[in-house]
C-alpha cells in the first residue's frame, strides 16, 4: 500500500493514475467492444487497479498537495487530496469495481456495449478528477466533462428519441451553470479560487447568492429537487446499467461530496440559521414529494428512480441541519444509498433482462423462480425502508436525530416529514416486493420461463446486499471511523441509536406501513395495488393526476398548486422560449438571409464589398487618429 502511495504522491502521477489510467482503460473497453468476455475482464482489471489506488490513497492517511502545470498560462491544476476527498475516491473506486462488472455483464450482446463502457470509464476519470481538484475552476471542468458523458450515455440507447437526454442535459446544465455562478461569486468574496483557500465564509450579502448557487449546483448533481425530473424520465428509456451507475451511485457521491465541502468548509453554516433551514426545507420537500410520486408507480425502474430522488432528500435534510450528527447521517446515508440503490437498480436491470419488462403489473410470484434475487431484494428493501438492524436504519435514525436536534422552530415539522417519507418508502417497497415475488406465479405474456442464470450479473447484487447487512452490523466503522474527518464530532455517533424513543417511533411507523399495506391488499385484492387507496384518496387523486401530467415538474415550469403563479411561469417560459426559439434564431436567420442574399455571385458586388472594407478600415483609423 505504501509503495503504491509513494507512486501516487506527486501531482503528475496522481493525475496520471487516477484520471489518465481510466481514460486509457476507456479506450481499451471501447476497443473490446462487443467481445463480451474481454470487455468484462478489462473492466474487472480496471476496477481493481482503480480500487488499489483508491485504497492506497485513503489508507495512507496523508495529504497530497501539488500543482500540475498544464500550460504556461496559469491554467495549472492545483491538486489537494486530503482525507475527505481520498475517502470519496476510495468509495467511488469500491462502488465502481462492483457496478462496472455488472454494467459490462448487463451489456452483453448489446450493440452499444463498447461505447457505453467507454463513457462509463471517462465518467470515472472525470469524477476522480473532480474529487482531487483543489481549484474550483478545474473541478468545474471535470464536472462538465461528466455532463458530456451523461448526455452521451442517455443518447446511446435511442438516438431517435433524444427528448429525455436533452431534458437531462438541460437540467444538469442549469445546475452546473448555477454552480459556475456560485464558484465565481464565492471566489470573488473569498478572494481565492482554491477550496483550501476558502474557509468559513459567512452566508450573508453576496455570500447568500454564492452559497445558494453552489449548494443548488452540487445537490442538483445528486438529483435533488428542483433538478430531479430527468431521472424518472431517463429511467424509462436509459439502460438499467446506466441507472445503477449514475443516479444510483456515482452522482450521489459527487453531489454530496461538494455539498459537504460547501456546508462545512467553504461556508460556515450555523445550525438554526436561515441557510440551514433553507437547505433542510429543500431536503424535506424533495424527500416527501419524490416518495409520494414513487408510491404510485407501477414500473420498477420508475419507482426506484423516484426513490433515488427521495433518498437524496434525506441526505440533504441531514446535511442541512449543520450538526455533526446530521452530516454523519447524511454521509452514511449516502454510502448506504449507493449500496442498496445500486443493488436495487441492478435487480431491476436483471429482471428486465430476464423478463423483458419491469412493469410490476405483468408479473408476480417470482420467488420460486428467482430465489436469490428475491432475497437480495428483501435485504435491500429492508435497508431502504429502515428496518432495524439493516444499514439504512442507522443512517435514518441519525438523520431523524439531527432533524429533531436542529436549533430551529421547525424541527418537529422536519422530523414529521421525514417520518412521512419513511412511511411511504416502506409502503412502496412492500408493494413492490410483494407484488413481484409473492403470491401466484405469473410471467409476462411473451416470456415462457424465467431463471436467474448469469453469475456476473448476480454477483454484484449479492455483494451489495451483503454489504447492506455488513454495514448494518459494523455501522460504527463508517460513522465513527471514515466520516469523522468531515463531521468533526467528538462523541461516538455509531452503534445502536441512543434514543430509544426514536427507535420505537420508527418501528411504529414501519408497523403502520405494514398495516396500511395489508389494508390496501384486502381492499384491492392484489399487493401491487396496495397503495391505490392512497393514490385515489379524495384530494390526493387530483394532486397525483396533476403530478403525473408533469405539473410539479420544474422542467415544465408549472407549479400545480398556485394557478396564478403557474400562469405567470408559463408566460415567462413562453417569453423565454420565444427569445430562444424564435427571436434569437430569427435574428440570426434574418442576418443570415441578408448576408446570403448579398452572396449572389455578382462580381460587382464582390468588388464593392472590398471597397466597403477599405472604407470601414479608413473610418476606424480616422476615428482613432483624429
Amino acid at each position: 500500500m505504501n509503495a503504491v502511495f509513494e507512486l501516487l504522491s506527486t501531482g503528475h502521477n496522481l493525475l496520471l493514475f487516477t484520471v489518465g489510467l481510466p481514460v486509457i482503460f476507456a479506450f481499451a473497453v471501447w476497443a473490446a467492444g462487443k467481445k463480451d468476455i474481454l470487455r468484462t475482464a478489462v473492466t474487472a482489471v480496471a476496477g481493481i487497479v482503480n480500487l488499489i489506488f483508491g485504497c492506497a490513497l485513503y489508507f495512507a492517511k496523508a495529504e497530497i498537495a501539488d500543482t500540475v502545470k498544464m500550460t504556461g498560462f496559469g491554467l495549472d491544476i492545483d491538486i489537494l487530496t486530503d482525507e475527505f476527498s481520498a475517502l470519496f475516491i476510495f468509495l467511488t473506486a469500491a462502488a465502481f469495481s462492483v457496478i462496472g462488472i455488472y454494467c459490462s455483464a448487463w451489456l452483453n450482446s448489446k450493440k452499444y456495449a463498447g461505447l457505453f463502457m467507454f463513457y462509463l470509464f471517462i465518467s470515472l476519470a472525470m469524477i476522480n478528477g473532480a474529487f482531487m481538484c483543489d481549484s474550483l475552476g478545474a473541478m468545474l471542468f471535470f464536472w462538465e466533462g461528466l455532463l458530456c458523458t451523461l448526455f452521451g450515455m442517455l443518447l446511446i440507447n435511442n438516438r431517435e428519441n433524444y427528448k429525455s437526454a436533452v431534458k437531462a442535459l438541460t437540467l444538469s446544465g442549469i445546475a452546473d451553470l448555477l454552480m459556475m455562478l456560485g464558484i465565481i461569486i464565492t471566489a470573488y468574496i473569498g478572494g481565492s479560487s482554491n477550496m483550501s483557500g476558502l474557509s468559513g465564509l459567512e452566508v450573508k450579502g453576496a455570500g447568500i447568492a454564492g452559497f445558494a448557487c453552489l449548494m443548488l449546483g452540487a445537490l442538483g448533481k445528486s438529483g435533488c429537487m428542483p433538478f430531479h425530473s430527468w431521472i424518472p424520465e431517463a429511467a424509462g428509456s436509459a439502460p438499467a446499467a446506466f441507472m445503477a451507475a449514475f443516479p444510483g451511485a456515482l452522482e450521489k457521491l459527487l453531489g454530496i461530496y461538494l455539498g459537504v465541502r460547501v456546508m462545512t468548509q467553504i461556508y460556515s453554516v450555523e445550525s438554526g440559521s436561515a441557510a440551514s433551514i433553507a437547505v433542510m426545507t429543500l431536503g424535506a420537500v424533495t424527500l416527501v414529494c419524490a416518495v409520494a410520486m414513487a408510491l404510485i408507480q407501477k414500473d420498477m425502474k420508475k419507482l426506484l428512480s423516484y426513490h433515488a430522488v427521495s433518498q437524496v432528500g434525506y441526505m440533504v435534510l441531514g446535511l442541512g441541519s449543520a450538526l455533526p450528527v446530521g452530516i454523519a447521517g447524511a454521509l452514511f446515508h449516502m454510502l448506504n444509498n449507493v449500496i442498496y440503490k445500486s443493488a436495487l437498480f441492478m435487480i431491476a436491470g436483471f429482471m428486465e433482462k430476464k423478463l423483458g419488462t419491469t412493469d410490476l403489473r405483468s408479473f408476480s410470484g417470482l420467488f420460486k423462480k428467482m430465489p436469490v434475487t428475491a432475497v437480495c431484494f428483501t435485504v435491500c428493501g429492508f435497508s431502504i425502508a429502515g428496518v432495524p438492524g439493516f444499514n439504512g436504519f442507522f443512517s435514518k435514525e441519525l438523520i431523524f436525530d439531527a432533524a429533531l436536534e436542529s436549533h430551529c422552530k421547525l424541527n418537529y415539522l422536519f422530523y414529521a416529514l421525514a417520518l412521512v417519507g419513511a412511511f411511504m418508502t416502506a409502503v412502496s417497497f412492500l408493494k413492490m416486493g410483494r407484488g413481484a415475488f409473492s403470491g401466484k406465479e405469473q410471467l409476462p405474456e411473451k416470456v415462457k420461463t424465467a431463471d436467474e442464470k448469469g453469475l456476473l450479473l448476480k454477483l454484484p447484487i449479492i455483494v451489495m446486499s451483503a454489504l447492506c447487512v455488513v454495514f448494518g452490523i459494523f455501522n460504527s466503522v463508517a460513522v465513527d471511523g471514515w466520516f469523522a474527518c468531515a463531521t468533526g464530532a467528538e462523541e461516538k455517533l455509531g452503534g445502536w441509536p441512543h434514543s430509544a424513543l426514536l427507535v420505537i417511533i420508527s418501528v411504529c411507523v414501519l408497523l403502520l406501513a405494514l398495516a396500511d399495506h395489508i389494508y390496501g391488499c384486502k381492499k384491492t385484492g392484489k399487493p401491487i395495488n396496495a397503495a391505490d387507496h392512497i393514490h385515489y384518496a379524495p384530494v390526493l387523486k387530483q394532486i397525483y393526476s396533476a403530478a403525473e401530467k408533469g405539473r410539479f415538474d420544474p422542467y415544465n415550469w408549472i407549479n400545480g398548486i398556485a394557478q396564478g403563479f403557474s400562469f405567470v411561469c408559463v408566460k415567462i417560459e413562453q417569453g423565454v422560449s420565444f427569445v430562444y426559439d424564435r427571436a434569437i434564431p430569427g435574428i440570426v436567420k434574418k442576418t443570415g438571409d441578408m448576408l446570403h442574399r448579398s452572396d449572389n455571385g455578382s462580381l460587382s458586388r464582390y468588388l464593392a464589398g472590398v471597397l466597403l472594407g477599405v472604407a470601414v478600415a479608413a473610418v476606424i483609423l480616422l476615428s482613432k487618429v483624429l
Binding site: H596, D599, N600, G601, S602, L603, S604, L607, A608, L611
Partner: protein, 101 residues
C-alpha cells in the same frame, strides 16, 4: 498645390476610375482594361515616390518588375476570359453567376 500633390491626385483618381470600370462594366475584357488602368495609376505613384525620395533607380526597378507581372496577369486574365467566351459565346460578366450560396 505642388507637382507631387498633382501626381498623387491623378494617381488616386485613376485608381478610382479603374475601380469604377471594374464594378460598372459588363464586359470581361473591359474589366481587364480597368485592372490595367489601376495598375497604371500604381506605377504613377511609384514614379512620384521615386522622385520624392530621390531613389529613382530603385523605383525604376520596382516599376519594371510590376510591369512584368502585370503582363503575366493580363495574359492569364485574357486567357480565362477567352475560355469563358468559348463556354458561353459572349463576354458578359453576368454569365458568371453559377457560383453562389
Amino acid at each position: 498645390m505642388n507637382m507631387e500633390f498633382a501626381f498623387l491626385l491623378a494617381g488616386v483618381l485613376l485608381i478610382l476610375a479603374g475601380c469604377f470600370c471594374l464594378i460598372r462594366t459588363y464586359h470581361l475584357l473591359k474589366i481587364i482594361i480597368g485592372m490595367e488602368l489601376s495598375m497604371k495609376a500604381v506605377t504613377l505613384l511609384f514614379v512620384i515616390a521615386g522622385r520624392i525620395n530621390g531613389n529613382m533607380e530603385l523605383s525604376q526597378a520596382f516599376i519594371i518588375t510590376i510591369i512584368v507581372i502585370e503582363v503575366v496577369i493580363t495574359l492569364v486574365a485574357s486567357g480565362v476570359a477567352l475560355d469563358l467566351y468559348k463556354k458561353y459565346g459572349n463576354l458578359d460578366v453576368r454569365n458568371l453567376r453559377n457560383l453562389r450560396g
